[in-house]
């Protein structure tokens, strides 16, 4: 009997908490402070590099877009115009700003794009379907290694087996990398997705550590800790020479736009509702005919597949991969970016990734302690805006709307 009471208690509490947030009464001054802090950091008077400068504008633009959306009610026609205009603006930004930049700036921007693909996928898995995953770093790694091993005709020796791997076209290698991750995620997800919350976090964490061990130890296959050179030489897709960093950046950007469009499509399709339903209340969803297991695996494997594709792009972007790059720290970064940006919002992952790729660098001017400040910033963000930047904007918006309605 006590078991059911405690479940009931938790449900009741949860309902209260949600209601409280939705009424906008949950420490909105703090949320405002969070926004102010974000703005302060974005506007910090440092421009160490070209990349930092671009990302400064980018982050400022995102915040401005959110601000506009905040002031104009979405339902109104103005709101819709602002929404589409800002979307077009963001795409144009990513497309136009790389013009005339140095190669290393383009690589940095490319990193932003690649990580954004991972986080857009993770946002579907975690933000919309509610399945926490600390294994995105591992999927990134699997994607990277699979693609590199499949399109170079490398000779390998693993577990007594020796052979020459095929030399697939790059696009096919990317597709295989994504599919491999999807299959693997279904294999581990099938048993693992019976558990939720922290348990799922620990299962995926352990999976990531295991993948790391395999990458590090199967020297015959992966080159082990010495890593693999993955030069872009001779990489031509549809007649475009990807050796040029600029071309490769746009190549990655196409994947980001496609990934974003895919997730956007899914979220507004009936699948999106099913995902949200099983995030909010899996038991109730099942009783209404939602195939919880299939949908969960779908959400998990789409996230993993996007991470795999991103991994394939990442390997050729950095032109060197080694297992340390796919350790749990990488997964923590993706997790952090998605949550800090705002779970379950389309713009959240972009904000989050801007922060992890730029913020530590921006804080360098504080001297030796710069990463301490970064840690403090993360802690503070969680205190002030537990639903992330975009989540806080939404909170502020409903609060403003409630005020407007009350005034009427």
């Amino acid at each position: 009997m006590s078991a059911t009471t405690s479940t009931g208690e938790r449900l009741a509490h949860r309902r209260d908490a949600v209601a409280e947030i939705d009424r906008g009464s949950l420490s909105w001054p703090l949320a405002a402070a969070a926004v102010a802090a974000v703005a302060t950091v974005v506007l910090l008077p440092v421009g160490r590099s070209e990349f930092a400068g671009i990302m400064w504008l980018w982050a400022a633009a995102l915040v401005a877009v959110l601000g506009l959306n905040l002031l104009l009610p979405v339902e109104s026609w103005n709101g819709i115009v602002v929404k589409w205009a800002s979307l077009a603006g963001c795409v144009a930004f990513l497309a136009v700003f790389p013009v005339g930049r140095t190669n290393s700036t383009l690589v940095d921007l490319g990193l932003f794009v690649v990580f954004a693909i991972v986080c857009v996928g993770l946002n579907l898995t975690h933000g919309f379907a509610g399945k926490i995953s600390l294994a995105q770093g591992a999927f990134l790694g699997i994607g990277a290694y699979v693609s590199v091993l499949l399109d170079t005709g490398r000779e390998v020796a693993v577990a007594g087996f020796e052979g020459t791997l095929p030399d697939l076209p790059f696009l096919l290698a990317i597709a295989v990398a994504g599919l491999t991750c999807m299959v693997l995620s279904v294999l581990i997800g099938f048993p693992a997705l019976r558990v939720q919350g922290p348990w799922l976090a620990f299962v995926t964490l352990a999976f990531n550590l295991l993948v790391y061990l395999v990458l590090n130890n199967e020297v015959g296959l992966t080159g082990g800790s010495r890593g693999l050179r993955t030069l872009r030489v001779d990489l031509v897709v549809f007649g475009v020479d990807l050796f040029e960093t600029r071309n490769y950046y746009y190549f990655c950007l196409v994947f980001l736009l496609a990934a974003t469009a895919l997730v956007w499509w899914i979220v507004r399709s009936p699948w999106g509702r099913a995902f949200k339903a099983l995030r909010d209340n899996p038991g109730r969803a099942a009783s209404l005919g939602v195939d919880v297991r299939t949908y969960t695996l779908l959400a998990f494997s789409i996230g993993a597949g996007l991470a795999g594709v991103a991994g394939a792009l990442y390997a050729r972007l950095i032109e060197y991969i080694d297992p340390r790059g796919f350790y749990i720290g990488q997964s923590f970064d993706f997790f952090l970016a998605t949550v800090v940006g705002g779970l379950g919002t389309m713009v959240g992952p972009f904000i989050g990734v801007s922060f992890i790729t730029v913020l530590t660098d921006r804080l360098r001017f504080t001297g030796d302690y710069y990463r301490v400040w970064f840690g403090l910033f993360v802690v503070f963000m969680m205190l002030a805006a537990p639903r992330g930047v975009a989540g806080s904007f939404n909170q502020l918006r409903s609060w403003l709307r409630a005020r407007r309605e009350a005034a009427r």
Partner: protein, 413 residues
């Protein structure tokens, strides 16, 4: 419930305050550096940056190796600046942490390239250097690295990089020197234990190749994992090996754990290994006597008598730091290598670096800060005398001085 808003306000004020203070603090720091840079008084017209020369130092702040590298460089820079700089130009140092993350290190080097430094001093870890050296190469800025992986100076692998220079032996050079010593000790077969990361595995590869070449049989080939403090299983396996000796290639923590376990199990085969095995920083971590009898080849070992005077100066300059190790000496000497080369060129023109430094020998007579005579071959690898060090009563002692290889003509010259 009434308490909550108080808390939130307090937190906001605190963090906002902290951000402001940190911002101010950062600015102050910059100002100090700027005002400190105005000391040069003679021939300043040639300096690349007003009256100073900018040197970029990307380094692994979270690794002991990176930290010691920085301390060594800071000492050299301060001494040189006090003595009037290089050709009258103050050295301005831009130290940036790479977090030991290849991506970040590449980003850091790329950012520093935009400030157009005269040279790069760093990085120290091979996995980082392999990634970030490309940026310096593209910008045609000489880069002096503490990293030891053979691939870094291999012209087939680094795309004919004319801008990369080592501060110490590559592990392939070191292994050639050391293995001939080991063979001279009558060792015919050897068991190997190494740390399973980029450093340990790279060292193991180079040494196993050298053992093969020297006709020494490699028996057991065992790895330990990073941070593994309980090595009883691995040491027990070693105890059952047939080798005449054991070769160890790990970093401090794992080496210390290994030596403790080795002593506990009462094993007494001779131990040979990379620099770390007999380094002071390792001896400081082990049980008394556990490091005794270990023998290493040390390119730059702080216990060598040549460095005695320098060590005192170091202790004076960094009173709070740990005693210097080979990385501190690497860092210290490399600044002087730059100074001597520039003085030979006669102007700050880093395009002339490779012509001047490749296949050149720099001597202590010309530049005492080099501490030892050093030659650079055609690939940026070095040659100089080195030492076989053995630990006696907890102190590293030089048992043999290995002369330079003197084979520059075989190495790209």
């Amino acid at each position: 419930m009434t308490k909550r808003p108080c808390w939130s306000k307090l937190a906001v004020v605190l963090v906002a305050g902290a951000l402001v203070v940190s911002a101010c603090g950062g600015d102050d720091g910059d100002d100090d550096e700027a005002s400190g840079g105005g000391g040069g008084d003679d021939t300043t017209a040639e300096c690349p940056d007003g009256d100073s020369v900018l040197m970029a130092m990307p380094y692994e702040a979270n690794q002991p190796a990176g930290e010691n590298w920085r301390l060594g460089i800071e000492m050299a820079v301060s001494e040189i600046n006090e003595a009037g700089g290089i050709l009258g130009c103050e050295i301005e140092l831009d130290a940036q942490d790479t977090q030991t993350d290849p991506d970040v290190s590449r980003q850091v080097v790329a950012d520093q390239v935009e400030d157009d430094p005269f040279v790069f001093l760093g990085t120290v870890l091979s996995s980082n250097t392999i990634v970030n050296m490309v940026e310096a190469q593209r910008a045609e800025i000489p880069m002096f690295v503490g990293a030891e992986a053979p691939a870094i100076t291999d012209r087939d692998e680094n795309g004919d990089n004319d801008f990369i220079y080592r501060a110490s032996f590559g592990v392939d050079t070191a292994s050639d020197k050391f293995v001939s010593y080991i063979a001279d000790q009558g060792v015919e077969s050897i068991d190997v234990i190494y740390k399973n990361d980029e450093f340990g595995a790279g060292g193991r590869d180079a040494y196993v190749a050298a053992f093969d070449e020297a006709g020494i049989d490699v028996g057991l080939d065992i790895q330990v994992q990073p941070d593994q403090t309980d090595q009883s299983a691995e040491v027990t396996q070693l105890a059952g090996g047939d080798g005449d000796a054991i070769f160890v290639f790990m970093t401090e923590i794992e080496t210390a754990a290994f030596l403790d376990e080795y002593q506990s199990q009462g094993l007494d085969k001779p131990l040979y290994g990379g620099d770390v095995l007999s380094a002071a920083s390792t001896i400081a971590l082990v049980q008394p006597g556990a490091a005794d009898g270990t023998t290493t080849h040390a390119g730059l070992n702080a216990s060598a008598p040549v460095f005695a005077e320098w060590k005192e100066a170091y202790a004076e300059f960094h009173p709070d730091a740990d005693p210097p190790d080979h990385n501190s000496i690497k860092g210290y000497t490399i600044v002087h290598v730059v100074k001597e080369t520039v003085e030979q060129i006669g102007e700050f023109d880093n395009s002339k670096f490779s012509d001047t430094l490749h296949c050149a020998t720099l001597t202590v007579d010309d530049e005492p800060g080099l501490l030892l005579d050093v030659s650079y071959d055609g690939n940026g690898d070095i040659d100089r005398e080195s030492y076989i060090v053995s630990v006696v009563n907890g102190v590293g002692e030089i048992v043999e001085t290995v002369p330079p290889l003197d084979n520059l003509d075989e190495r790209g010259c």
